[in-house]
């Protein structure tokens, strides 16, 4: 079986059980369900809330550089810390956190393969005490944002017109076709349903095994390759607000090792609310030969 392009980006639950409290390791839980942490987490893990701590709560944006630097310092994280992130829903928002840390240049940040689900299924130790880090002694100085990892609306519009970029819509098939406007059970947050013209549908969860771990290289190539995502062309992943697509971005960037992969975090809540934006409805397109 082929190895992931960057196997160092993943750790196992067993590794975390053994090394999670090492001096230079910081384990952080980031969940879709922000209260899950309080009901039990990996011993010693910090908890970050995606909706208050991992975004700018005034402007719709990821953390500003200074906000990010404060979060890192307050979490006791230095530029040399090995940060291991995990969460519920197969590391969905954990990948969102990792993506932001890569945007700001953190060298050693990894996902715990299988996330919270696998840890619990294996019956590993948990604690309910909310951990509070001792802030780092020195300020954390982030790199300038690496915008090669992030797509903004004008780039996506240009990519759609030029047709030289493969856009992967990672939402559910029903969201892709326009049958529903948001994941079942969640509030509708866009005015129109459908997808960006030319996008290919590869729901994010297909990259995972039943136990929450990532599928093998061979399986991932078989999943994305037929949709044109084989590394030969630039890739943009999007979903509804950019978190599910962070998961796919992680797979394409680090597990398959494709060089030019961007996460469009504006995603469908931006595109589907734009006046005059072209929208395609109905079934998925097949990749161009």
């Amino acid at each position: 079986m082929a190895q992931y392009a960057h196997p160092e980006m993943l750790v196992t639950t067993a590794w975390v059980a053994e090394h999670g409290k090492d001096p230079n390791v910081c384990v952080v839980e980031v969940d879709v369900d922000t209260k899950a942490y309080d009901e039990g987490h990996v011993p010693g893990a910090l908890g970050w809330a995606w909706n208050t701590q991992l975004c700018d709560t005034t402007v719709r944006d990821i953390l500003q550089k200074t906000q990010y630097e404060k979060l890192m310092r307050d979490s006791g994280i230095t530029k040399d810390t090995t940060v291991v992130i995990y969460g519920d829903s197969n590391n969905w928002f954990a990948a969102w956190a990792l993506w932001q840390m890569k945007v700001y240049g953190h060298k050693d940040v990894r996902l715990m393969d299988g996330g919270r689900k696998k840890w619990i299924a294996e019956g590993r130790d948990m604690e309910t005490t909310a951990n509070k880090a001792t802030p780092a002694a020195q300020p954390y100085e982030a790199s300038a944002p690496d915008l090669s990892l992030r797509a903004f609306l004008p780039q996506v519009q240009e990519a759609m017109k030029a047709g030289n970029t493969v856009m992967i819509d990672v939402r559910s098939p029903q969201e892709f076709t326009g049958e529903i406007l948001a994941p079942p059970g969640l509030p509708e947050t866009c005015q129109r349903g459908g997808h960006i013209p030319g996008a290919h549908s590869v729901p994010w969860g297909k990259a995972c095994n039943d136990d929450g771990t990532f599928k093998s290289v061979e399986e991932l190539k078989a999943l994305y390759g037929p949709e044109g995502a084989d590394g030969s062309r630039p890739l943009i992943a999007y979903c509804r607000i950019g978190e599910r697509s962070s998961h796919t971005w992680f797979v394409l960037k680090y597990l398959l090792g494709y060089g030019n992969v961007k996460n469009y975090d504006g995603s469908w809540t931006e595109w589907g609310n734009l006046v005059g934006a072209p929208v395609e409805r109905g079934a998925a397109q097949k990749a161009q030969a």
Partner: protein, 73 residues
Amino acid sequence: MKPEDYSERDVDIDGWPVHLITYRLDGKYHTKADNVSPGANLARIVADTKQEAEDKAIARARELLGRTRRNAV
């Protein structure tokens, strides 16, 4: 403490597939219901018994899923 009595199963609620994960932690049963794909959380319930936790999670999921509109495409 360690989670015990872990189980997973899929149920159909008014035509929507829903995934239930239940386990016991510190004497209480925890049930999480999500909508399978894309996996958004629908309900998280803590109760004294597995039956009670899952029944309440399903009821909450049904309430939320009942608000989802299907459009013709």
